[in-house]
Symmetry: C2
Subunit: 414 residues, 2 copies
C-alpha cells in the first residue's frame, strides 16, 4: 500500500433502516482497517432494492480504494447483493457445484433437505475469489474491479467476525498494510477538561500526533495508535508519568476487573453495603469471573432497618445524622466488614432521585466510605445526573476509591 | 403527501467513522419519519471533507424526497456542513445579526465573551428557513431545493431531539403526513419461535400486514404500527387474547417498572436474597424511581456464611443440598422475607460460570424461588449463556416469576 488507502463500507438490508437497529458490523471492520492504517471515508446503509444497491456500490467504489459490503447474501428473493454486484461491476456468475454439495451436507447433518432456494447461495463470480463460510451458508467474495478491491461478507455478526479474522486481516497484512499498534489507557475520577489540561506537555512534545480521548461511562480513555510497538510503549510511559495512578487499567480492563485482580493477588476480601446503588456495585463486582474468591457479598440496605439489621448501623446514628450522611456511610463500610470478617468494607448511601432531595441534601448527593481494620475513608459527591446515572457513577466512584485505598496500603499485609 | 415519501439521512463528522461510535441520531429521526409514513431509503456517515460532503448531499437528494443532514454545524474549520450545502445546492449565505446577538447574549450569560469563530454559526441561507436552537449555539435549517425538502440539524443528541419535536414533527404533520399509531407489546418467558408459533392465527387473520417481532434482552417485543388508533387497539386485543399474561407491559415499560407498579398499587413490599446475580436484581428494582416505597433491600449472599447470616438459611440445608439447589433458593426467599417482614421474598442461587459447574449442576444452572407468607414457588433453569448473560436472564426470569406469582394471588389482601 503505497499511499494511505481509503475504505468505504455498505451495510445492506431494509431491517437495518428501521428505528431500532444500529449497524455495529461496520465498527468491527473499521477496527481491523484502522489497525492497518486504512481510513474509513464513508459508510452507508441501504435497503433491499436492486436499483439502490447498484447505485450505492458504484458511488461508494468511486470514493475509495477498498469497498466492503455486508449483508444481503441470504437465499431469499430479498437478498440481492449478488445481483447488484454483478450489475454494478459487470461480473458474470456461475453455479459452483462444490458449494451446493457443502450446503446439502450442512442441511443433511441436521437431518434436513436443502431447500431449492438455497442454490442461490452457490452462485459465484467468474474469475474471482470465493470465501468459504464455515459459520453459515452464505459464502463471501473478494473481487477485483478496475484495480480496486471489493470485499463482500455476510451480515450475520459471528459469520462476519470469523471472515474478518480468517480472510480480511491476513489480506490487509499481506497487501503491505502496516500493522499498527494500539494501546488504551483507562482513567477514572477525572473530567475531560481535567485530562486535556494535564495532557498539555504531552501535546507540546508530540505536535500533530493523534491521541484520541474517548468518554466512557464513568471514565475516560486515551487511545494510542502508532506504527511501532516501541513508540506505543514510550508514549505510554509518558502518559503514565503524567497521570500516575489515575490510570486504572489498559485496553479492555474494567474497573471491577482491576479491583478484583488487586484483591485476588493480595489474598484479601471484600464486603459491600449499598443503599442508593441498590446492588449495582455487587453486580459489577460479580461480573468478573472468579469474584467469589474475594467477594463475600453484603447487603442491599434500602431502608433504615436493613442498614441496622444487615450492616449493624446504630439506629441512633441514623436518627441523628440521617440515612444519607458521612456517618452512616462509614458505619455501613465498617459494619459490613466487621460482620463478615473481610479485609475491606464499602458503604454507599445517597439520594438517586428524582425525588427525596432537600436544600441541605440535594438529589445526587452520595456518600461513599471504604474501611479496613484500622481506617475509614469517606468521600461526598453531588452528581448532576439522573437516577440510573447517579447509580452508575456512584458504583464507579466507589470502585475507584477502593482501588486507591488498597494501593495506599502498600504491599499486602495478609 | 400524495405518494409514500422517501427520506435519506446523512450524519456528518469524522468522529462518527471511528471504531467506537455508532450513529444513534438517525434512529430518532427514523422513528419520527415512520410515525408519519415516510420510509427511510438510505442513511450514510461521512467525514469532514468538503468534497465528500457535497457529493454525498447531491447523491442522497437524488434518492429521496426529504434529505436530513445532522452534524457539522459547529463553529470550527472542521464544520463544513454550511459550505457543503451552499455548494451542493447553489445557495447563497448572509450573516444574520439577530443570531450574532443571540450567541453573544448566550456567552455573556455565562460571563464569557463570544469567540470570533462562533460568527460562522450566524450565517444563514438566503430565502430559506432558519431554525432557532434553544438548546445550543448552532441553528438548523429547512431548505427547499428543486421542490425537495432538506432539513439540517445539529448533531448534538439533545439539541437534535428538541428540534425534531419543535420543528420536524409539526412539519411532517402539516405536510399531510398521516400520523400513524404505534404500540409495543412486551413479552417475557417465551422464545422467538414460541412466539411465532402462537402468532399463526393472527398472521392468518391479517395476511400481508406488518407485525415486527424484536428480540430485546431477556424478552421479545411485538411492534404494531397502523394507520388508526382503533386499528391498533383491535390488533392489541387480539394479541392479548393470544398471549394472556405473557405480555408483561407496553411501549417503554420495563419488567422492573411493571413489578414495581404492581407492588406499589397493592401496598405490598419486597426483599431479595441474591447469590449468582450478585445484586443485579436489586439494582434493576431500584432503577425505578420511588422503589423505596416497596423495596427494603436484602442480601447479596455470595458465600454460605452470608446466606446464613443475612437470609437465615440453615447451614445444614446448605451442607445437605449444596449452595446451588432448590432447597437453598427457597430458604433464601422465605428467610429474607421473614427477616424483613415483607409481603414477598425472592431468592436466587446458581452457577454463572465460566467455572464452578459439574455434571449434575452444569454452568448456567440457576434456581429461583418466590415466597409469600403461605407459599414458595421454585423454578430451575439451565441457561446456555456466558456469565453476564446468565446474570441478566436470571434477574429477568426472577422478576417475571415474581410478577406471575403476584398476579396469581389475585387482588391485594393487604
Amino acid at each position: 500500500m503505497p499511499h494511505r488507502m481509503k475504505a468505504a463500507i455498505i451495510a445492506i438490508g431494509s431491517e437495518m433502516l428501521g428505528p431500532t437497529r444500529v449497524d455495529t458490523n461496520s465498527l468491527k471492520l473499521t477496527a481491523a482497517l484502522e489497525n492497518y492504517g486504512v481510513a474509513v471515508v464513508r459508510k452507508s446503509v441501504v435497503g433491499d432494492s436492486l436499483q439502490d444497491l447498484v447505485g450505492e456500490m458504484e458511488f461508494s467504489l468511486g470514493k475509495a480504494d477498498i469497498l466492503i459490503v455486508t449483508g444481503g447474501l441470504g437465499p431469499t428473493e430479498d437478498d440481492m447483493t449478488r445481483e447488484a454486484l454483478s450489475k454494478a461491476f459487470g461480473l458474470e456468475m456461475d453455479l459452483d457445484q462444490s458449494i451446493v454439495d457443502r450446503l446439502q451436507a450442512r442441511f443433511a447433518a441436521r437431518g434436513w433437505k436443502m431447500p431449492e432456494v438455497n442454490k442461490r447461495q452457490a452462485y459465484v463470480f467468474r474469475g474471482q475469489t470465493t470465501l468459504t463460510n464455515e459459520r453459515g451458508t452464505a459464502p463471501g467474495f473478494h473481487l477485483v474491479v478496475g484495480g480496486k478491491h471489493v470485499w463482500v461478507f455476510p451480515g450475520v455478526p459471528n459469520e462476519l467476525e470469523w471472515m474478518i479474522e480468517t480472510y480480511f486481516k491476513p489480506w490487509l497484512e499481506q497487501t503491505g498494510g502496516k500493522k499498527r499498534h494500539r494501546r488504551v489507557l483507562k482513567i477514572a475520577g477525572m473530567t475531560e477538561s481535567g485530562v486535556e489540561e494535564r495532557l498539555k506537555p504531552y501535546y507540546d512534545a508530540h505536535k500533530g500526533e493523534l491521541l484520541t480521548i474517548l468518554a466512557a461511562p464513568g471514565g475516560l480513555e486515551l487511545h494510542l495508535l502508532r506504527d511501532t510497538a516501541d513508540e506505543v510503549a514510550s508514549r505510554e510511559r509518558e502518559l503514565l508519568d503524567l497521570f500516575g495512578n489515575r490510570v486504572f487499567g489498559f485496553d479492555d480492563e474494567t474497573l471491577e476487573f482491576v479491583v478484583g485482580s488487586l484483591l485476588a493477588n493480595r489474598g484479601e476480601t471484600l464486603a459491600t453495603a449499598e443503599s442508593c446503588t441498590g446492588g449495582l456495585l455487587g453486580s459489577r463486582i460479580t461480573d468478573v469471573p472468579g469474584s467469589s474468591r474475594y467477594y463475600v457479598g453484603g447487603g442491599v440496605c434500602y431502608t433504615a432497618t436493613t442498614k441496622t439489621d444487615i450492616a449493624g448501623v446504630d439506629p441512633q446514628l441514623i436518627q441523628q445524622h440521617g440515612e444519607v450522611s458521612q456517618e452512616v456511610a462509614e458505619a455501613l463500610a465498617s459494619g459490613i466488614r466487621e460482620r463478615f470478617h473481610t479485609t475491606y468494607g464499602v458503604g454507599i448511601t445517597g439520594i438517586a432521585g428524582p425525588t427525596g432531595g432537600s436544600e441541605a441534601k440535594p438529589v445526587g448527593t452520595v456518600h461513599i466510605a471504604v474501611a479496613d481494620a484500622t481506617r475509614v475513608e469517606h468521600r461526598k459527591i453531588v452528581w448532576p445526573f439522573t437516577r440510573t446515572l447517579v447509580k452508575w457513577f456512584s458504583s464507579q466512584a466507589a470502585l475507584d476509591q477502593l482501588r486507591l485505598f488498597i494501593l495506599g496500603r502498600g504491599a499486602s499485609r495478609s
